[in-house]
Symmetry: D2
Subunit: 388 residues, 4 copies
């Protein structure tokens, strides 16, 4: 196969972002089909994005011969059934996170992919910031890279107001945890990926700013769409059963400490993820608002600010630097590179900058198991072991 | 009494800092005596600081008629006996933190001060950064200042290496917790002060980078003195029984969430304290490396950076701004202002910028109770109620 | 015409960046051809980027019927002849900056495009950072937006060492100014665009770190390729006749002051552009290392940090925000949006977020005239009027 | 003489700051007298600051036997006559900047001090930020510290509004330049001090936001007192004949380039001074809003952020670090250390951390000559040589 023929399911915020990322890998793939929640939505997207085929029914897309691989960019509760359908129809899958609603579902997908000998990935794309890769490379090469503790946050504010609404507010559609599953798993995936250490135990405390929220009767419900901008007229109340905010102590392999705060109600933090790693000799810190630099902390010499400059980075990080030093890479660029890795693996090609290590179904399952342990800990107030 | 006659006990790092702060309140106090751990140390300090009387025995200082108030700037295990002696000799006391080795000791001092009708303060001076005062004023005036969650850190690196030593490494001299008592209590005092909310429950996890450390036989042992600079010759090993790093979940009155990381082994963080407060409408964040500004986070408008400018601050914060907008105030200035408040109260004078609210023995006791609950939680892995 | 058929000439650093940006506008254009400096370079790029046609001779590309519009991404001395050929062959043109080697050449292109009724743009893409658009919108809407002074820098370090080499070092290939033409014109275009004010007079001072530099005999010569990485063996010396560093006072329409520093030899500044605008009521500042925020300075209230969040921006800036608040847009995204504007204009379509105002040949000419005045001023040490 | 007996003339903003700095050098000096513009002002200050003697006539203070050294903290036009009186009365002098109204006056003081064999200093205190000292030490020790270019700003906003008033607005009281003399000379003194290079030529452009301003009839006129806070009632208009904003190209010894922007009307910049030094191998940058760190820029390795940590600094910078690493030093601390240096020199004592090099009358004269050349250049639009 010379180029993968790719379909995208979903036309909300993230679907078109995936579609664009496909086009940014022109040597590896072409975009052949798109599916939406309605014929109209799909048609509009296909026209705007110049996609040859579209449908309001994702099964039409999956059934096509000119589709080798499917991106699933739909609400969480659809990930499992759609991924299952894809795999059963012989399509490779790239699924948005979280992979499923439960670890049982995730395990089922893992089994199926193996049985069918198909490749699958989960879109923990934040791994693909060049400076995250750089920390990972340094961790594996450091003579005394023994990691002692991690600290971090993932803070947003798009659900701050009582009238902010999205399908993510509905646990039936989104799952039993919200903030943790949606953004907390990004942090935990990244931490485990960068350090190579598994989280073994968790202790969590949840917070909810509103026990009851209001939504507009006919409101759109896209992620990041803000209720505050709607007319104040016909709102209906609904109970909230998922967390707005979580603080979680983490115990990694080998006793490494971790502390994570996750929030969707922290005013002024639009999409702020920070990662701090304290080690025996150096510390690293990175945050998503200034993603093209890391701070390297030293005790006996000046701290360093390493900027994204291909000439200063390890080879894999350099391979994810599309532009010269100082030219900022952004969120969209991470999608481009996760696709480069995943597609290369599906095509059996080698990847620029070293081995492909995109987030797999196994990684997606690991996050589901973490979510389940975190929920249980938040309910009991006790340390919980993470399932395997 | 026109001006208080003040003595300082202790000639290490913090004693002379106190002495200077006394001199920066010339309308309220004069420095009449200094005591050190030896005649020589006291004499040297007295000469350098031009103090009329000195002694190697603190009791000589306490016994003097021309001393109204005593600053206790000695290792932790001496706070209680010295404070007790001062109070029994009819002297007001300003004691370095932590107030004592146990809550029982702290209670004893509280009882004694009341019995003797003497004033006492504990040096949680970080309250006196103007921008911390500004957050406090905004919290009390906000129409919807309901606080939802707090997050913070206090990170240092001066104990990163195995050979770093200070008397604080010895639990006999420093107490059963180290990082938490030394710097964690600064954060917890500040959080409770700024929000007006008490911490009710804690869940802590401790980390120790080295189970055994080495110290140089004849090494000096001042805080922040680094073992790494000593000759590698004659070190002796000793077991470490206190924490280098702690991560603590906090539950404040009214269910407000809190999450604190404390460390003395985080490379590159010299003395980094950060405080983030998430509320229903705004968030505030402050850190000690850029203490003259706060970030005010908003959902529906631009975030704000409020800089220390007397013309833009509430009156009490403005009263702690010695210089015009943009001129940086530093660590030393907080000492000046805590003394201004405490001395004014002792003298029965009103304080510029509003009521004096320096940290009292009650506040010092509260921190001891917190330390005890945190130790117990770290041992059991369970949530612990904080004693009252 | 439904979609423009686009060709790219040039396969160095910036050519493939353009090619990708074409693909990110799938509703407006398709990429049909690519030309390189050799058959081999063009073929390699065509394979990697999956472009249907390629050639080592750009005239093959210009001659094609399935090419409506050509991107010129070659060394400066080729811009004029290639743009001329394109226009004469009836192709619209997007040319890299600077537009030409002299203002006479630029004027010739302007005349030709008008005569042929073709559209042309010059790639001053930095206008397309969303936050730059936001400043522009605020400038035009401000009740008292009177601008008083501008200050800025564009600093790089890729020519710091004596052995750093690129074709830009050769004035025959690059033009009579180097730092000013290459990066200074970016700043001046942006300043004039954002404020709507023309620069009328300039006073410049040039600096050269090395009068003679060395280049490796067979070295590659791409921009940002560093001499320091080459073998120290067979270097040859050559005289440098263009500036490494320039400081320029600018006088804008209406007496507005401007001050710009440009450098390619400022260690540690990879690609740092900063823009500060002081006005009667507010100041704005932006820099390219943190491009998704602006600082809004106030006298009588807190300063603001406005982050790229579509919900907080004016419509045109919002239309250039591909992702929700906090998700960083990068350098590559500016290319995408300049193409969106230019292609829409060529196709006669309306542009999302308001009128298209991409940099035209007129703007390209304006920069050439500025370069010429700056050179003359640097030679004479006197204020020079900018030609019209 | 064991300790200097010091008097302060001036009770406005900066006088009490000096008084406090005297008290922070208790081993070197004591404060014996204070003079104000009226008996009342002096009496109030003396009471508040606990100064034994005060007068509304500075000559009373100068005449005293128990005064060895006088601090002149009055409006600019009084510096020369008061300094002259002091020297003629045999008193050493520390004078606020700028030293005088003209270079002729400055020269006269220089002559007089030499004739009387008295010491004198000018308060360019910003030299005394520890990190400024660190850059200076690195400059003198660097194996290839050849400096290539300097860039900087000193921006304030306290005169942004038409009604902002201070005696500095009156050229009779303040001198022929305002922004340049008041804050620009701080930057130029610092640049010459840190690099050891003299400024030889200047080219300046001045800006004035208002040709006519208004002042309140009976308004107070302290620096940083803001007109905007006054009642809008009885204002009177007055013409402005000094600059609000200046941009200045500087040519240092050896052809080193310099570019400085100075402003008192840049909204949101309270007191922002930045210094950037580009060299052959590294760059340094520092700014007054984060004074306890410098950024060290590198081409071929990560940039560094060196924080004020005595253990990481050269000896002289370390000697100006009163607190351990990470504890912020502020504006007030610079005063303490300039006095330490000056007093030590007057007393003939050695200075901790190396030779005393406080700003002398010669340095004060150099700044007057710079101001005169800058004024002339702004008038003529031509490069001007700086007098010697």
């Amino acid at each position: 196969m010379e180029r993968l023929r790719v379909a995208v399911i979903g036309t909300g915020f993230i679907g078109p972002v995936h579609a664009e990322a496909v086009r940014r890998n022109p040597g590896l793939a072409e975009l052949t089909a798109i599916a939406g929640s309605s014929e109209e939505a799909a048609g509009e997207a296909a026209a705007r994005l110049n996609v040859p085929f579209y449908s309001g029914d994702y099964r039409d897309v999956i059934a096509r011969e000119d589709v080798d691989l499917v991106h699933i960019c739909t609400p969480n509760y659809l990930h499992y059934p759609m991924a299952k359908d894809c795999l059963e129809n012989g399509k490779h899958v790239l699924c948005e996170k979280p992979l499923a609603m439960t670890s049982a579902e995730a395990r089922d997908l893992l089994r199926l992919a193996e049985a069918k000998n198909l490749k699958a990935a989960v879109n923990y794309n934040l791994r693909y910031y060049p400076m995250i890769q750089e920390i990972k490379s340094r961790n594996s090469k450091s003579p005394d890279g023994r990691i002692f503790a991690l600290q971090g946050s993932y803070l947003q504010d798009w659900l701050l107001h009582e009238t902010d609404y999205s399908w993510r507010m509905e646990s039936k559609l989104s799952g039993k945890t919200r903030a943790v599953a949606d953004i907390g798993t990004h942090w935990m995936d990244l931490a485990q990926y960068v350090t190579g250490l598994k989280i073994e135990k968790v202790l969590a405390q949840f917070g909810r700013m509103f026990e009851t929220r209001r939504k507009s009767a006919g409101g759109r419900d896209h992620t990041f769409d803000r209720g505050g901008e709607k007319k104040p007229s016909d709102y209906t109340s609904y109970p909230v059963d998922t967390e707005d905010h979580a603080q979680i102590l983490l115990s990694f392999e080998g006793g490494v400490l971790g502390n994570l705060t996750v929030s969707q109600v922290s005013a002024g933090y639009k999409n702020f993820m920070e990662y701090r790693q304290m080690g025996r000799d150096v510390s690293y810190s990175w945050n998503s608002e200034a993603p093209n630099r890391i701070k390297i902390g030293h005790r006996d010499q000046a701290n360093e600010i390493l900027m994204k400059d291909p000439g200063l980075l390890h080879s894999r990080a350099a391979s994810m630097s599309a532009y010269p030093g100082g030219h900022q890479e952004g969120y969209g660029d991470t999608l481009k590179f996760i696709l480069r890795d995943f597609y290369s693996d599906v095509l059996g090609r080698s990847v620029e900058g070293g081995a492909s290590d995109y987030p797999t179904l196994q990684d997606g399952l690991a996050e589901m198991l973490l979510c389940e342990a975190i929920i249980k800990s938040a309910e009991t107030g006790e340390w919980m072991e993470v399932g395997v």
